[in-house]
């Protein structure tokens, strides 16, 4: 497998979940990593490059975590097929680094033996040696290497220890194949592992369970009462932070865009180009990018829960609730991730062994309100509850999120009875890793990566849409001397957007929306983020340095808007109807594409898209019409 020295070699990282593969991957590749997809399946391929001490460039791929090469879940199948050379578009790696948690060798050596049996050059990265030794495991890495016939590198990857030694082990010539052989059956491997452990990783007599700091924390976080209390407080804190901590940075973004608009107004002559830039691009993009701080805060807290080990505890707590609706605690992480974005959430369902549970989780994931809805929710909450405290806004936001979650759970309970049972029963099992201090560097890199993805999307898809929306709102221009030439509101009605809006108004009116809100709702099917941008364009709000005045102006316009008979359009009931619509509508075509691939079914993806949209319409209609009947306005 040794290639020409002028070509890079490929190193694959493989190991059990929580063994530290990602930490080692980040330490080796630093900023050079990128995320792509394996062909044919939406499974993330994380790859990067690093240099060995002799200057050779190596490609590094981080395979999904797997317990063995007899895969159960989708991502385990990917890992196995890459190593066996059967994954389309992927060549067999030249070297495999098996990452193992040294404190749990008895459980994790099986994967190492299976990799060696493939006949690939292998290096064992023996991670978390500090925890193994403090747990009473007497490690002899030289003997371990001798027993396995491969290089063994002791590491503490979270502290950067062993990284250089690992690079040394990967320099040319590549490691030789192991010359050791054993019976490649389950019993044969377990027998070999027993010999290895006895020789090189014995547990002392004091390896009995002892109460650690993690256990003290678990006595609180896993307690039936304090565990749930902590969970609710943590979730509430996340939502409070989304509002409270984002106010200052959002103000800065707003000022920046406002200042940019004013500058363009001052240097460019009046005309369509200036209007495009100021009223289209700057107003439209500003209306989306302003919510970047909130989205970053959300990603930060989700990442914090993952890296500290709290996420597993939350999954344990949620298992009881989720079992009642036909799911398990394993569905918790994908559904929680869907609150950031449904796409990685749906991809995370690959770790669910039960096909039935995975299918249901994918179908309900879009009802976990994603970060793209934050601009919509925030705008509508401010309209509905002007001037209230951060806590009340947070509670309202929590309520909105809860509506989506509860509806999703009810749908799961209904679907459970209609979908055939799995051929193989799968029970809830979960590892509870020790609590760890958050890896701030890793967290910040993740947030930066997400922020960049958001800005790229804003600069491409959203920018394209705002330009289109501006053009639809501006053209055709009214003739000189007509009433519309002097009245921008009338000109808007006669534009392409106005005509389209008037056409769909009969469909939107029963929900309480006029044609302007109707066009904003329809435009948001392309991207939810443009909802607010479209409102701003549609109401022809002029950019103003004073944020309160600008918001006041939008709020005033909406509150003052009336139907031809003089009734107010944007009452609290209308706002509620809008909120309900956005909670339930699936307005994300990329999600539909991912669902199509993950379920390998166009039919179910389309059912989901059409079904959720219809449900959103009926729900919003019900809220408005029933509210009206009850005398609410």
């Amino acid at each position: 497998m040794i290639t020409d020295s002028s070509e890079s070699n490929t190193v694959a990282l493989v190991g059990n979940p929580n063994a530290g593969k990602t930490t080692i991957f980040n330490a080796l590749t630093g900023q050079s990593q990128k995320v792509g997809n394996y062909s044919g399946v939406t499974v993330s391929e994380k790859s990067g490059k690093f240099h060995t001490p002799d200057g050779r460039k190596m490609n590094l791929i981080d395979l999904p975590g797997c317990l063995s090469l007899t895969p159960v879940s989708v991502d385990e199948k990917i890992a196995a097929s890459v190593l066996m050379g059967s994954q389309a578009g992927e060549k067999v790696p030249d070297v495999v680094v098996c990452v193992v948690d040294a404190s749990s060798l008895e459980r994790q050596l099986r994967l190492v033996l299976e990799v060696i049996e493939l006949g690939l050059p292998t290096v064992l990265a023996l991670n978390m040696v500090d925890m193994a030794e403090s747990g009473g495991v007497r490690l002899d890495t030289a003997l371990l290497s001798e027993e396995l016939g491969i290089p063994v590198v002791p590491m503490q990857a979270n502290k950067g220890k062993g990284i250089i030694e690992l690079k040394q082990a990967l320099r040319m010539p590549l490691p030789a194949l192991s010359k050791h052989h054993w019976d490649a059956t389950y019993e044969g491997r377990m027998s070999k592992i027993g010999v290895i452990i006895e020789a090189a990783a014995r547990r002392s007599d004091s390896d009995e369970y002892s109460h650690t700091t993690s256990d003290k924390l678990d006595s609180w976080f896993l307690h039936p009462f304090t565990g749930w209390l902590s969970f609710i407080v943590i979730m509430l804190s996340v939502f409070w932070s989304i509002f409270a901590l984002s106010e200052a940075p959002m103000g800065m973004v707003e000022e920046a865009f406002g200042g940019l608009g004013n500058w363009v107004n001052s240097v460019m002559p009046e005309g369509d180009l200036r209007s495009l830039i100021v009223d289209g691009v700057i107003a439209g993009l500003g209306g989306t990018v302003i919510f970047l701080p909130q989205i970053m805060i959300l990603f930060f807290f989700i990442g914090l829960m993952e890296t500290t080990g709290y996420m597993s505890r939350a999954a344990y707590l949620m298992d009881g609730v989720m079992t009642k609706v036909g799911l398990s605690g394993r569905a918790f992480l994908p559904l929680l991730s869907s609150h950031a974005c449904a796409i990685p959430g749906i991809m995370a369902t690959r770790t669910i062994p039960s096909a039935k549970e995975r299918f249901i989780t994918i179908l309900i994931a879009p009802w976990m309100s994603c970060s793209a809805r934050i601009p919509v929710y925030t705008t509508l909450i401010l309209l509905l509850l002007p001037g209230v405290s951060f806590l009340n806004k947070a509670l309202m936001m929590l309520g909105i999120y809860s509506v989506g979650i509860i509806t999703g759970f009810i749908a799961a309970k209904v679907l459970r009875t209609r979908i055939p049972a799995d051929k193989e029963v799968s029970h809830f099992m979960l590892e509870l890793p020790s609590y760890r201090a958050p890896q701030i560097g890793y967290l910040l890199r993740q947030i930066a990566s997400r922020a960049w993805s958001f800005l790229k999307r804003a600069g491409t898809v959203i920018l394209g849409l705002t330009i289109l929306l501006w053009a639809l709102q501006t053209y055709p221009k009214p003739d000189e001397g007509t009433a519309a030439a002097e009245d921008s509101a009338l000109a808007l009605e006669q534009s392409f957007m106005g005509m389209a809006g008037k056409t769909v108004e009969p469909v939107m009116k029963p929900l309480g929306y006029d044609w302007r809100m109707g066009t904003a709702v329809i435009a948001s099917f392309a991207a939810r983020e443009v909802f607010v941008s479209n409102l701003m364009i549609t109401y022809s709000i002029e950019e103003d340095d004073d944020e309160d005045k600008m918001n006041q102006s939008l709020r005033d316009k909406l509150v003052a808007s009336t139907w031809p008979d003089g009734r107010k359009i944007y009452t609290p009931l209308t706002i509620l109807s809008l909120l309900v619509f956005f909670i339930y509508a699936l307005q994300c075509l990329p999600t539909t594409v991912v669902v199509m691939r993950e379920l390998n079914s166009k039919k179910w993806a389309i059912y989901q898209l059409v079904g959720m949209s219809a449900f959103a319409y009926v729900a919003a209609l019900s809220v408005f019409q029933i509210g009206k009947l009850l005398g609410f306005e």
Binding site: L67, S68, T70, V72, D101, S103, S104, L105, E106, R107, Q108, R110, M131, A132, G135, V137, Y186, M190, G194, D207, E208, Y209, S214, D215, D218, L222, Y316, D319, G320, T323, G329, P353, V425, S426, H427, F428, M429, L430, E431, L432, P433, S434
Partner: protein, 74 residues
């Protein structure tokens, strides 16, 4: 402490036992997680899901799975 074989579900929390065998149809899932005969296991809590400690790792097992793990005194 009883000397006969018991299921992991039935033993008291806080005691350490040794896995003697797996019974039932879902043993493969247990083996995938690294459970095997002769390993020591300490049961930490009871409940709908059982928390146990083995080989330096804390694991949560559904009761139905734990019912398939037979243990003997260490």
């Amino acid at each position: 402490m009883a000397k006969e074989t018991q299921t992991l579900t039935s033993v008291a929390a806080g005691d350490t036992w040794r896995i003697s065998a797996f019974v039932g149809g879902e043993c493969k899932q247990l083996r995938e997680m690294g459970f095997c005969e002769k390993l020591k296991v300490t049961k930490l809590s009871n409940g709908r899901n059982i928390i146990c400690f083995t080989c330096g790792t804390k694991l949560v097992l559904n009761r139905k799975l734990a019912d398939q793990v037979l243990v003997i005194p260490v």
